[in-house]
């Protein structure tokens, strides 16, 4: 099975293709409108929302501030609970580690509950290469897997598809499917197909929403029950998580859970909330006999090392920034070519894949701030984008840790242009002269003017600048000084 691949370095072309796809654009607009409304309804009291966000931000910042200690504590307490803990520095190590765990069971059939981190390490493709079947058990992920695609949203992986497209996929892939456009019947069909897979699976793989250091508990947020099935039916459960998902106390979980689900889908709680605290114990009659936890770095400690960029790791993966982003709404998740799309993807992906691959992503924002406005843990996404834009263009200062791919988008001409601009802007008499000449010559500017006139006429400049206008105004008025300068 070869999956349709998208790349962050191809962002412009992928965005262009997405913009030309009217079905895709209308699917996204509809879905995002719906999700925006759901979130709005879930937070009807702005004061309460402000308090919740502040609280959630504080929790995440406190936990991140002691991340190394909390990870050690988590490892110790998980082990005490009978969970086997493994560490992976990068995607390759994680792939190998998980594959070995599966192969040591002699297993060839795996089910996976939704886990973006296993998308990040391209686990499915790796396992397939080893002859291991890995079926996605989240309905949306199952749909995109059938379509040989990757998720286009971190919460709603198949949000780019409408029911017609899903029905067509089922017709193609599920035997005896009685063609229908009824959403209930489509879900039922998918569930029945998946039920067989759960029964056959020898290993279940899941993600983790919160890993509690205090108790060694792994929390999993979901709506379909597939997470519960994945983590309890097969005899072995492997949980995979990025190192940033650790929280200090069990009491940190409820406020984060509540703001996560309300930000994501407008739900106050989800249908299922799993707390996994180890393998089956005697005399329990169900549950896996082995539980493994894989802790993945994959660039996260690079973000951690820098005080400003560390805020990136506050993310609790609700997807609200995507749901409210005018760019994401128009191009959809695949255009980004990264596991985590949208605003949060633009600031996480440079750490995972390097700035050389992702420098187009960090500029693909009008910095409108809608993402920061809705982020439940108050990640200052626009400021971080500005920081990454800087890092993409220029080498690191001596006192700051260097990012992978720093200065990869450096351009001598661009740098020189900005230096000239700064010089001009700090030499008032020449600046004013240049602007005055500019407005005089504007009518001779060529039309079209590059990218600006793709959909706009060239700007209509005034016949004289405001500076010139004020000079005339001053000369007419006896009460005003005509000397210029500070009056």
């Amino acid at each position: 099975m070869s999956v349709q691949h998208y790349y962050p370095s191809q962002f412009k072309q992928q965005a262009s293709d997405a913009l030309a796809n009217q079905t895709l654009r209308s699917n996204f607009r509809g879905a995002m409108d719906y999700l925006q409304q759901k979130r709005k309804d879930a937070f009807s009291d702005p004061q309460e929302l402000a308090q919740l966000r502040e609280h959630a931000e504080n929790i995440r910042q406190r936990c991140l501030s002691k991340l190394p200690q909390l990870l050690e504590q988590l490892e110790k307490n998980c082990q005490a609970n009978g969970i086997q803990v493994h560490w992976a520095e990068d995607a390759k190590q994680a792939q190998q580690l998980i594959a070995e765990l599966i192969q040591s069971q002699g297993a060839t059939k795996v089910v996976k509950g939704k886990s973006m981190v296993t998308e990040e390490i391209e686990l499915n493709q790796h396992l397939e290469g080893l002859g291991i079947e890995c079926v996605e058990s989240d309905m949306g992920e199952y749909i995109v897997q059938l379509a040989k695609e990757t998720p286009s949203h971190i919460i709603m992986p198949a949000i780019h598809k409408n029911k017609q497209q899903v029905a067509d996929l089922f017709k193609q892939h599920i035997k005896d499917f009685d063609y229908t456009l009824s959403v209930d019947k489509l879900i039922q069909t998918g569930r029945e197909a998946l039920r067989t897979k759960f029964k056959q699976a020898e290993v279940g793989i899941s993600g983790v929403n919160f890993a509690v250091a205090e108790t060694g508990t792994l929390c999993l947020v979901e709506n379909e029950g597939n997470g519960r099935m994945t983590t309890t039916v097969p005899p072995v459960h492997i949980a995979v998580t990025g190192i940033e998902k650790v929280v200090e106390f069990l009491s940190d979980v409820p406020p984060l859970f509540s703001i996560l689900t309300r930000s994501a889908t407008g739900q106050h709680i989800t249908t299922y909330f799993n707390m996994i605290s180890g393998p089956r114990r005697a005399p329990e009659r169900d549950g896996p006999s082995e539980v493994h936890l894989v802790l993945l770095d994959n660039g996260r400690s690079q973000a951690y090392a820098d005080e400003a960029l560390r805020k990136t790791l506050q993310c609790i993966r609700c997807g609200a920034c995507m749901n409210h982003c005018p760019v994401y709404t128009r191009v959809g998740g695949h255009a980004y070519g990264t596991t985590y799309p949208g605003p949060i993807g633009k600031i996480i992906s440079p750490h995972l894949q390097g700035l050389a691959q992702t420098s187009d992503l960090v500029t693909a924002s009008s910095l409108c701030g809608a993402c920061e406005e809705v982020c439940p843990v108050k990640i200052p996404i626009p400021s971080l984008l500005q920081r990454l834009r800087h890092d993409a263009k220029l080498p690191a200062a001596e006192q700051t840790p260097s990012l992978k791919g720093q200065a990869s988008a450096a351009s001598w001409t661009e740098h020189t242009a900005w230096r000239m601009w700064a010089w001009l802007s700090t030499h008032p008499s020449i600046y004013n002269w240049a602007m005055a000449v500019g407005v005089k010559l504007a009518k001779y500017l060529p039309m079209p003017m590059g990218e600006w006139t793709r959909c706009r006429n060239k700007p209509e400049l005034a016949s004289q600048t405001f500076h010139q206008t004020m000079k005339r105004r001053a000369s007419k008025s006896v009460t005003r000084s005509a000397t210029g300068g500070a009056r």
């Binding site: 262009s16 900005w418 700064a422 990218e451 959909c455 700007p459 000079k471």
Partner: protein, 260 residues
């Protein structure tokens, strides 16, 4: 630094500095004059500093922080007295209010200066509504208007509320609402050039929604957005009188015969 919506406003000063912004300088001198007339009518003396150029935002958002800092320092030096600085655009005011302190946060010499400067920065509609508490007397015929708010103005300063407050004082002007009111118009400075196709999709939608409001006039307190939206309306041959103007121009035209 004050938080949006929680800003404590000083009482009306006797003098203010006027910051025109580079876009207003090039595109709309009349809007600048209108703003000065409105402020002077409130009994506040307006000081024009001729040496001003640009706030530094273009370099800042493009990743050239050193160049932005150079320009920011030169601008801060031009306003030495303790008067408020009235800025004619939400995004430039946002740059000075929010990002100057951020730019110099770790600077031993200029951090305090940038903080103090930021505290004196007020966007035009914010100044007129919250500090002058201007009472506007509408002199024009019945009409309707739709307001486009800039993202930085809205999210960094909360000035969409002050623009609305001023317009709603005009008793013969119906203030219409556009769908997706708080969504970006797609300008974003260099974004409109670097990612022009996405920018195009955004401005097309924005123009459609604004026109869909059915209003006769379009106003905004930000020339970045206006250049984008007007440019697109003109491209479609639909500019006519709906062509966006600065809030100051509209307010002055409606009230110029009136007394403060």
């Amino acid at each position: 630094m004050s938080q949006t919506g929680l800003r404590i406003y000083p009482s009306k000063p006797s003098k203010v500095y006027f910051y025109a912004t580079c876009l207003l300088d090039l595109l709309d001198p009349d809007g600048g004059i209108a703003a000065i007339e409105l402020i002077e009518r409130e009994g506040v003396e307006v000081i024009w500093v001729e040496k001003q150029s640009c706030c530094g935002q273009p370099a800042y958002t493009s990743g050239y922080q050193e160049q932005a800092k150079t320009v920011a320092l030169s601008q801060m030096a031009l306003f030495p007295e303790d008067h408020p600085i009235v800025v004619m655009s939400g995004s430039c005011a946002g740059m000075m209010f929010k990002h100057y302190p951020h730019l110099f946060a770790n600077d031993d010499i200029y951090a305090d200066q940038a903080e103090a400067f930021a505290e004196r920065v007020f966007e035009f509609s914010e100044f007129l509504a919250h500090i002058c508490r201007a009472k506007l007397h509408d002199q024009g015929p019945l009409t309707s208007v739709v307001l486009h708010t800039s993202c930085s103005g809205r999210r960094e300063l909360g000035i969409h509320a002050s623009s609305q407050a001023l317009l709603s004082q005009l008793d013969k002007v119906e203030l219409k609402k556009a769908e997706y009111e708080s969504e970006c118009c797609g300008f974003g400075g260099s974004f409109s050039l670097r990612h022009s196709e996405i920018s195009q999709a955004m401005v097309e939608d924005k123009a459609r929604h604004l026109q869909g409001s059915g209003a006769s006039y379009l106003v905004s307190a930000d020339w970045g957005c206006l250049a984008n939206i007007n440019g697109h309306l003109a491209y479609r041959g639909e500019a006519s009188r709906f062509n966006g103007q600065h809030l100051a121009s509209f307010l002055w035209q409606r009230t110029k015969g009136a007394k403060a």
